[in-house]
Symmetry: D2
Subunit: 173 residues, 4 copies
């Protein structure tokens, strides 16, 4: 994550918001990651429907948040594992698409460490473990508002054709 | 699945509905699986919210269905992997809780074989691969309306305390 | 390998085989799988060193055997999980290379269901679950001499360049 | 790894060997981990047979090494995935048994990132990701002599009855 010099707090906020002091200019890679995240999120009706929010993104990185709503519990009255997985999978998607190569999940695994409950605020942090020309491996840790780990996710990405955003328009990203 | 002599089409329907002919009486294990499924489904607000329907259940077995809605697509405009996982995870839950021991997922893995799209009708079939006193392994295959395989899911279950339904009321299930 | 020639070449062959009536000629796909297995096994010093034997192969299929030797136990005096994995991984390799496209493991997972011990005779059966142009998924079940399941393995294969055997020599396989 | 104040270079060496200066006394947890590693390794004929060496251990931690020998290559003339897995699995075992609760692998997954070849010197570092009373999750990274990552392994441990070494003899460990 050494390259992640700037942090996008929300896709629609300017990087300097709330600081009032000069910040280093985001790198082109960071600017591209921000732009891709905005584009993907706008299309990603599933993440929107679950109230998943992008906290920050960067090259090979993302941090997302989701509150556990009443319509997310399972038959044991804890957060449905599928909801936890979806949050982690979205974090994985924002991280692995951040280089502007269309990328999808080929496979993923998840370990459920502790239950989460209605009202919990979950955070998913996705980091890149390895990346080749065609595939990548990303780890996502899901924690609750106390910082307790809820789940560990590992995803294998696969590049498909195309790009998320058009970068050949003759002006800066 | 030899013991699964009757089929529950929906948790609230009687097994013979729509047949008008005599059917073999469901086994106690099947009756228990049906009753558990109804109880779990009623509490499972996540499965309900996604329109997941129980097609049939049995001891160590379940078959669920879900239509891919407009609010289930991701940033690449295909069904979000988390929605496919959630369907499979619910199928896993109905299968592994069918013996009336409270059981949750300890871990799961999924391979995404083909994309699904808005309007697709997905089916998840969960079967029990192995079960010990405390743990179990279940496989779930997700297919679309053409029968094409969309995803393969494998879940590891862990028993926790308690039972799904009360079976000590002094009468048969 | 010699012992394998009179056995079932494909899991779905005619029931008449081996009953003292004339045998159907192996299909070209079966002949190719046999030839590939011989070639791979000759180079596969690891499988040889562990005493792994090929029982039968076919397109997308293999069945291997291995005795648990004194030098295969771990610190708990049961068969080392790595030895069970190696047997399964070899079965996976013989199955996924059977089409004569050089293929390696990209990833694998294993569930250990029961311990095995020195003197046990393990069998690994690999079957193809799914295959695309570039990737495949194979399941391997490892059982002991009583037929009890020891481990379940799932491997993801990836094609690399080249072929196992040369099939362009101007005569049939 | 905060608790790992001293490092065992080889199980049979004293911690201070080759330094000639005073070292901090190993913690009781470190002494126990060292003692367990020696005991397990002595019984672990599989690790011995493959030339696996313990470089260091600590509570929830281990570092092992293995040279890729001529009898470890597979049919593609690269190191057999089972040999890489076995090294990682041994590292996992030394890490998860380091608290003196008999612990075995319930499941494991491995991603093969790059091939290794005859003559390569592989290192496996196992770290504890999470641990509950009964289960644990460990990650193992396998690298070659250039530091390139060969494989990523994740194991799920399960406690069984008993202890590796006897600590109730009435004297210090």
């Amino acid at each position: 994550m050494a390259a992640r010099q700037s942090r996008m707090k929300q896709p629609n906020r300017s990087a300097a918001e709330g600081h009032g002091v000069e910040e280093r200019e985001p790198t082109p890679a960071q600017q591209l990651a921000d732009r891709i995240a905005r584009t993907l999120y706008e299309r990603d009706k599933a993440s929107q429907a679950l109230g998943i929010r992008i906290v920050e993104v960067g090259p090979g990185y993302s941090r997302l948040a989701m509150a556990v709503r009443p319509d997310m519990v399972n038959g044991h009255l804890i957060c449905h594992g599928g909801m936890v997985f979806t949050l982690a999978d979205s974090a994985f998607a924002f991280a692995c698409n951040s280089y502007n190569e269309n990328t999808v999940a080929a496979a993923a695994s998840i370990d459920f460490l502790a239950p989460s409950r209605q009202g919990d605020e979950l955070t998913a942090i996705a980091t890149e473990v390895w990346r080749s020309r065609r595939n990548g491996i990303y780890e996502v840790t899901v924690t609750n508002q106390q910082g307790a780990r809820i789940a560990l996710f590992r995803g294998r990405s696969a590049r498909i054709d195309g790009h998320v955003v058009n970068t050949t328009e003759g002006h800066e990203l």
